[in-house]
C-alpha cells in the first residue's frame, strides 16, 4: 500500500507524459519506448497507469476522509444529543435509501464530470454508514462509568467528547474508512463504465478500463494494466482494513 502511494507520488520522476496524444500511434503493442503500449489516442498506457494511480488513490482516500470526518461529526453529535439524533438520523436514513450509484450519477449531472464532484458524490452515500457506526460506539461509551465520572467531576462536555469519547471511535472509524476507500475506487470504475466518472482527459484506472473495453482483443494491455493495478489496490486496502480490525479487536487476537 505504502509502495503504491510512493510510486504514484513519484510518477513525474520516471513516467512519460500521460496526456501526450498521437493519433498515428494508436493501440500499439508494448515497446521499449512505451512499456505497456499505447491507448486509442496513442497515449502511453504505462504513464497513464502510473498517473492513474494518483487519481484513483486520491478519489479513494479523499472520499474515505470526507465520509469519515463528516460521519464522525454527525455520529458524535447524534450520539450525544437526543433531539438532534432523531432528525439527523432520519436524514441519514433518507440518504442511505437512495442507491449509491444512482445518487452519484444524479449528483454528477449537476456539474458535469469532475474529480471534486465525484469525490463528493461517492462520499455522500457512504457518510450515513459511518455516522451510524460512530453513533453506536458513542451510545455505548456514553454510559461507561469513566465518562459519567468525568462529567460528574465537572469536566466540560467538549473536553469529555474529545478526551474520552472520540478516541474510542477511532478503531471502528479506521476499519470503516478502509472499506469506504476500497469501495470508492470500485465505484469510480463503475461510474466511468456508465460514462460519468473522472473526465476522459484525466487518467484514472476506472476510466482507462472503461474507455478501453473495446480493445480487449486488439490491445489487451490497455485494459489489463489498469485492471490489475485496480484489483491489487482494492485488495490491499481491504486487507489493510482486516489488519486494522485484528489490531483493534483484542478478542480476534486471542483466538490466534
Amino acid at each position: 500500500m505504502a509502495l503504491l502511494i510512493v510510486l504514484a507520488l513519484a510518477a513525474p520522476l520516471y513516467a512519460g507524459d500521460p496526456g501526450n496524444i498521437d493519433p498515428f500511434k494508436r493501440l500499439q503493442p508494448p515497446s521499449a519506448e512505451m512499456w505497456f503500449g499505447s491507448d486509442n489516442l496513442g497515449r502511453d498506457v504505462f504513464a497513464r497507469t502510473i498517473f492513474g494511480a494518483r487519481i484513483s488513490l486520491m478519489v479513494g482516500l479523499l472520499s474515505a476522509a470526507c465520509a469519515a470526518v463528516v460521519g464522525l461529526l454527525i455520529g458524535v453529535i447524534a450520539g450525544y444529543s437526543r433531539g438532534f439524533d432523531n432528525v439527523v438520523m432520519r436524514i441519514m436514513d433518507g440518504l442511505m435509501s437512495i442507491p449509491t450509484i444512482l445518487l452519484a450519477i444524479a449528483l454528477i449531472s449537476l456539474t458535469g464530470p469532475g474529480i471534486g464532484i465525484l469525490i463528493v458524490a461517492i462520499a455522500i452515500p457512504e457518510t450515513p454508514a459511518v455516522a451510524r457506526l460512530v453513533r453506536s460506539v458513542v451510545l455505548g461509551v456514553r454510559e461507561r462509568p469513566y465518562v459519567e465520572a468525568a462529567l460528574c467531576g465537572g469536566a466540560r462536555l467538549p473536553k469529555v467528547l474529545w478526551r474520552h469519547i472520540l478516541p474510542s471511535t477511532v478503531p471502528a472509524l479506521m476499519v470503516q474508512s478502509a472499506t469506504v476507500c476500497a469501495s470508492a475506487i470500485l465505484t469510480e470504475a463503475g461510474l466511468s463504465f456508465l460514462g460519468v466518472g473522472v473526465p476522459p482527459e484525466i487518467p484514472s484506472w476506472g476510466n482507462m478500463i472503461a474507455s478501453s473495453r473495446l480493445y480487449l482483443a486488439i490491445a489487451p494491455m490497455t485494459i489489463f494494466a489498469p485492471g490489475i493495478c485496480l484489483a491489487v489496490t482494492v485488495l490491499a486496502v481491504n486487507l489493510l482494513g482486516d489488519g486494522l480490525r485484528d489490531l483493534f479487536d483484542p478478542r480476534a487476537k486471542r483466538r490466534r
Partner: protein, 523 residues
Amino acid sequence: MAAGTALSFPSMLRAQTSPEDARTVRMAKEDLRIFDPVASTANITQEHGLAIYDTLFALDSKLTPQPQMIGKWGVSDDKKTYTFELRDGLGWHDGGFVTAADCVASIRRWGQVDAGGQLILARAKDISKKDDKTFTIALKEPLGLLPDILASASGQFLFIMREQDANRPATEQVTANIGSGPFRFNAALAKPGSSVTYDRNEKYVPRKEAPSAYAGGKIAKVDRVIWNNIADQQTAFAALQAGEIDFFQVPADLYPAVESDPNLDLQVVNKSGNVAFVRMNCLQKPFDNIKARQAILNLIDQEAMLRAMYGDPKYIRTVTSMFGNDTPASNDENTAWFKKGGDPEKAKQLFKEAGYAGEKVVILQPTDWASVSNGCQVLASALRNIGVNAELAPSDWGGVATRRSNKGPVEDGGWSMFLSDWPEFAMGDPISNVLLAANGEKAWYGWPKNDEYEALRAKWANVATSEERKALARKMQRIWWDFAGFVLIGQSVGPIAHRKTLTGLLDTPGGYLAMWNMQKASA
C-alpha cells in the same frame, strides 16, 4: 457429467429459436426516444419514420427526386402552380385511405420545423386540396427545386401523417404511430427504452419500379424487425457474434474482429458517410474575431483528428470543400488553408493578430459520444501546444445540448467550441442544411454572420441550371472560408456489421436505415 451439460445446453437453446426466426430480423439500434419525426431531428427517429410512414417524393441513388406516393404531377406554364395526384392503393395502418387533406396538413406541420419546408411555406401563396386525391401548391414566384425539397433527406423527411395527427402543433409529439408505410408499428410489443417491433404491412402496395435508395418499390421481405437498444457496444458485438442479433453499427475498432469472423460481414450502406466539423461561438471572444477562426482552420490536422475519432484509416478522408467531397456543389475554391499535418505556426500567428490574450477557450465535450469526445481531446491538446488556454468542459450529451444554446461569454456558462457531425450528402444542400447558414443569431449554434454570403445563399433556390449552381457554390465558398463559419475535420464512412444471412440492405444517402428489400436466409 460436464460433457453431458455441454451437449444439453445448446439443444435447450435451440428449442426456443423457432422457424419464425428466419422471418424476424433483430437489430442493435440506439434508443428510439422520440417517435415523432417532426418533433425530433434524431437519426433514429427519422429511421422510425421511414419504416412506418411514406413520402410524396423520394431520392434515388443518384439523388434525383422520384415520385413515391405521388402518381401524376405537373406544373403550370408560369411555373407557379404545382398539381399533385396521389397514386392508388395508399392506405393507413388503421384501415383508412390516404387523402389529399392528410398531405396538406403534413406539409404544413413539417414546414414549421424543416429549413426546406420553411422555404416552401414562405414562398407559397396557397397549399390546398382539390379533391380527395389531388392537391396544389401555388407559389408567389417560381421555385424550381420544389420536388427536390419535398424529397429531401438532408433535414427532416416530409412524412405523410393522418390529418388528425398532422394538425397538432409541431412541438407536440404525435403518439399514434400510424402511417401508410411498408412496416406497421407494433404498439403491443413496444418497450420504450428497450426495444421496438415493426411488422410487415401486408396491405402495402409498392411501386412497380426497382428499389433505389429511398425511391422505387418498397417491398418488405421479412415479417418482423426488432430494434434492441443495447447500451454497451461490447455486449452488442458479442450478441452479433453469437447470432442473437443480425445487424449492428459497429465501432471502428472492432472492424478487424468482424472481418475475422466467418459469419459476419462489413457493409458500407452509406457511401457518403458523415462530415465532422468544429463550430465556434462567433459572438464571444476569441472567436468573434475572424482571424481566430481562421487560426482554427489552419491549426486542424484533419488526419490526426480523424484517426483519433474513427480509427481505421480505410474509412476516413480529408475534406476541403464546405460542400463536402462528393456533392454536386463540391469545389476547390479558396482552399489554400489546407495543409497535411495542419499549420500550427500559422495558427499561432493568426491568434496573435486576432489580439488573443489568453482568454479561456471552452470546448464542450460529450463524454457519452466516444468519437467526438476523443476529437475534443485532440483539439484541446493541439490548442494548448500553440499556447491557447483551452479547457474541456465534459458532460453528457444532454449537458452539451443545453450549454451550446447559451450565447453568453464563458464566464456566464457560455462556450467557445463544440464538435459534431452531419451527413456528407446534405452538405450540398444550402437550403435545408442549417449548418450552411450565416444569418447571425438566427443561424445554427455558433451564429456566424455574413451578409454577402447570405445574399448569395438566397439565390440558390432560384438558379435554374446546374452550371449556374456550381458557379454560385464557388462564390459562396470563397467567402465562407474567409469568415470560417465552421471548420471541417473530415469525412468518415462507417460500415455496418451484419450476419451473412442478412442480405439486400440498401445503400441510402445519409445512411438512414431502409428496412424494405432486406431479407434473411434461414441459417
